[in-house]
Symmetry: C2
Subunit: 324 residues, 2 copies
Amino acid sequence: MTGDFQHVVLLAGGVGGARMAEGLARALPAGALTVIANVGDDEEFYGLRVCPDVDTLLYTLSDRIDRSQGWGVAYDTVKALDVLRDLGAPVWMKLGDADFGLHIWRSWRLAEGASLSAIVAEAARQWGARADIVPATDERVRTKLNTDEGWMDFQPWFVGRRCIPKVSELRYEGAESAKPAVSASAAIASADLIAFAPSNPLLSIEPILAIPGLRDSIEKCRAPRVGVSPLIGGKAVKGPLARLMQDLGIEATTRAVAGRYAGLLDGFIVDTGDVEDAEALRASGLAVAATEILMGGPEGAERLARELLAFAGKVAIAGERRRG
Amino acid sequence: MTGDFQHVVLLAGGVGGARMAEGLARALPAGALTVIANVGDDEEFYGLRVCPDVDTLLYTLSDRIDRSQGWGVAYDTVKALDVLRDLGAPVWMKLGDADFGLHIWRSWRLAEGASLSAIVAEAARQWGARADIVPATDERVRTKLNTDEGWMDFQPWFVGRRCIPKVSELRYEGAESAKPAVSASAAIASADLIAFAPSNPLLSIEPILAIPGLRDSIEKCRAPRVGVSPLIGGKAVKGPLARLMQDLGIEATTRAVAGRYAGLLDGFIVDTGDVEDAEALRASGLAVAATEILMGGPEGAERLARELLAFAGKVAIAGERRRG
């Protein structure tokens, strides 16, 4: 097997995951990429289902994204939200007008009985997204955080309280009993490469892996499985990962992130600067590549994606040899 | 009793009704006006409850209205609707972004168990509307039209098909069994004047009167009850009234409109030009005033409102004498 992958599955959260997805979509042939998206962050606002990670993927892969912030729709306005504020509703979640269009449509289709994966597939097709986007499950999984202010849902903690409450425990409510979306299982079954985006392992990737059917199929999968570290020198490119790891008593290092994926990874890409982590991971038997993991814009994402594919090609060959 | 009314109830539909309401609000002391609004036009779009007449009243009385069209929010945009169109949803009902804010909020509050009248009262208070606005009932009443294309709901006929299908029959589904909103009954019980806006009798006023509790209380009410004709020389100022009357085999005249309100009216205001109608109505025992009933803007609406109040004062005195 070479780096010439035809069926790539990416496990991803929101902003960082979408950037990696965009890079892979640019580097791969059309139709080769399926992104399995975290749904643990999904939340109801005013009775409407909002799926932040899925939507960031949809917007990014269909060129609707507000690139200055990495989420939301470019040039969006907030007239609906202003009205909701005027009417006394809580408006800490910034939902734009175009964004509301998607939430209204999804909630309507859900109420009519459509599955979330069918709805997302329909939106991706209508918008010409450059990858298949599949929510990890059609059921509800809710990332819950036990904090010094009590148990909180993800969005109230992340957006509503700007990650200030200190977290002592995480739970992915509903994950244990959730069935994978059929299209997610199918994508893994036919994958010739499984990639882990440089997303937050605790908040984006593990809510996916907490669904037993998905973890099992990745564990047993014969395709190479490679991840990209979300940390550079112990710091997250974006978001609260490093502090969250510390709060939970986990060392905020690249090797600790890879450790979270034990049994699920064949190779890991770390930042050039994280030499000690690279050595430790190699010593543990993992294939390691070191490169600049900061993506910046779409070109940088494509560069990282090409490096990931080349690395995965080598990992695949080594794996074939081992299996002999 | 004089023209110095303190508790005025106006029965109203959308655009014309809201204009009359604005005129009365300008002419009356603060807190004196309660508008009972038609809900027969209400419809669900994408699972959201839209109440066109209530909303036109809310927007007009809180100075949010798009005055160029008489409905919707001034300077509104349609980003959400554009997204819904992109996603393949039917978008024949023009719903703006600020407008969606109200529909989202209302649908959310309804799902939480709030009554429509409580929700509308809350919006009116938050927005400082210059009158109390009360939906005729908290229950669903649906104006249905039997057309040469079959039975249709109001909005699909009115907006979706631009009133083109010929109507042979009207039905106010749910009205017979609907209870009046408590605040509507209370307003009528304490009213010293009941006014009928120059709204479409068949599509705006009769769906209100079809609720037995409301019709009864207006029938038995001792306050003067005066209406304003929506027709000038057999033509409606706006909307499909004249053609609808013809389709239904009703003469499209001011006297025919007054005839629809038989037993509910003490006086009727007709246009100066409709001399024959005025004479016929006087002959039938109704008090009649003739004036220019075209309101134009808010000043014209206030002028008509002041004439209505003066006329109602005379009707009241005559009524007192009769009962004497």
